[in-house]
Amino acid sequence: MATRDKLARERTEEYLAEHPADTEALISVRGLKKYYNKGVIKALDGVDVDIHKGEVVVIIGPSGGGKSTLLRSLNLLEEPTEGAVFFEGVDITRKKDDEGKKIDINTVRQKMGMVFQQFNLFPHKTVIENMILAPVQLGRLKEADARAKAQALLERVGLGDRADAYPIQLSGGQQQRVAIVRALCMDPDVMLFDEPTSALDPEMVGEVLDVMKQLALEGMTMAVVTHEMHFAREVGSRILFLADGKLVEQGKPDEIFSNPQSERLKDFLSKVLI
């Protein structure tokens, strides 16, 4: 195990020597690979991506193409088989930085909010308790301040009167809006969305997308995996097209949707409703 890790690390270093990370970028991914079943399944097969501050990067592509794996690798919920993920200039896949200081993934994750397909609210806690749990437990805010902040965030997404409700008492769209503001409560530098509307009833998709759009307009850096092509086109500042574990094509929404280059992307776009 240790030897395999060491070999992977060596290959990553070699790759980085030829393809250095973009230190200006908020997130810089290099040579990212994620294999399952000893390499039989290659969810990610060598991906390089940079995400700059203020960008709204939308990741599209066929199912099983590696979209979610890429997104989940950014905060290491998915541990890469090989490759590097730089966050604010630091390679977070390493145990220690160049000065030998330990890299604490928990501190990094505090700056990367994440929203899941299945909402993943804590069912035993009320809406506001869900939101203040992390900021209070991690010593970022005092409980009273956290409550005030959470309440203000809830007002912003139109849920000011549901602070004391339990998640199960909310609709799917409301739950997802709570999940978004729960992540915002930590003042993240970037927000990661993993198919945030895929588990919603159609009539609730809009309310969640509206919140995300608002967030994008306020300048939040976002990485969004979605099948909502309208959203991608309207809100995205850059589109990544992932298929078979590779970044096949990327560009501005207009280029991607109106003038796709690769056959793979043309084929994909012909099958999705726009």
């Binding site: 919920l77 928990n106 990094v108 994750r109 505090q110 749990l133 199960i168 008492q169």
Partner: protein, 232 residues
């Protein structure tokens, strides 16, 4: 045959039964408490990343589940006599400590093995998304377990826990073989003193029932209370 006279004679020793009941209650409560702590440690070891700890916990669980309780009680009793110099005093003025403590230890060790499996299945029943959500907020693994996973797991395993608690009250009767003065031992003493076996045993059965039945009802009540927030 069971006669009214014999019953009256057995009931004449009510003080013995009262002391026995108190002993059973304290014994079971302590066993449940320590058993739960042992079980929590074992469960975390078995689900942890350190392989030797995982094997150790697994071996422990299998060992205690595959040997009879009465053997465990005797072994703990004789080991405690060999290894520990237990003070010979009366707890609450009536419970012989050097018999009582090995009883508590044996019951705790045994129920720890069973509770471990219950806790493990409870933790396993919580969707992985809960852990991911907590970790993505920056909560460390320990806090995630304590604040997010365990509270939900406890709710799921409460019925099984209640069962185990009741089981311990009943199984604690076995400790009378090493001289723990519980309800069972009271029935035994009455038999020796009055030559009426059945009457003493029936009183013991009634007492055990009076302990076990309400316990399961009380826990069922808490189960309903804790499930708030899960219902519309």
């Amino acid at each position: 045959m069971i006669t009214a006279e014999k019953f009256a004679a057995a009931l004449g020793y009510w003080q013995l039964f009262l002391e026995g009941t108190l002993c059973t209650v304290v014994l079971s409560a302590l066993a449940v408490l320590f058993g739960f702590i042992i079980a929590l440690l074992l469960a975390l070891m078995r689900m942890g990343k350190v392989a030797p700890l995982r094997w150790l916990a697994t071996a422990y669980v299998e060992l205690f589940r595959a040997t009879p309780m009465v053997v465990q009680v005797w072994i703990v009793y004789f080991l405690s006599r060999e290894l520990l110099d237990l003070p010979n005093f009366l707890l609450f003025g009536m419970i012989r400590f050097e018999r009582f403590l090995p009883g508590v230890i044996a019951l705790s060790l045994n129920s720890g093995a069973y509770l471990c499996e219950i806790i493990r299945s409870g933790i396993g029943s919580i969707p992985i998304g809960q852990t991911e959500a907590a970790r993505s907020l920056g909560l460390p693994a320990g806090k995630t377990m304590r604040l997010v996973i365990l509270p939900q797991a406890m709710k799921n395993i409460l019925p099984a826990l209640a069962n185990e608690f009741v089981t311990i009250i009943k199984e604690s009767a076995i400790t009378y073989v090493i001289g723990v003065q519980d309800i069972m031992s009271a029935a035994n003493s009455v038999k020796g003193a009055t030559y009426s076996t059945l009457e003493g045993l029936i009183i013991a059965a009634v007492l055990y029932f009076c302990l076990c039945f309400p316990t399961s009802k009380i826990i069922a009540h808490f189960e309903r209370k804790m499930s708030r927030g899960y219902k519309r």
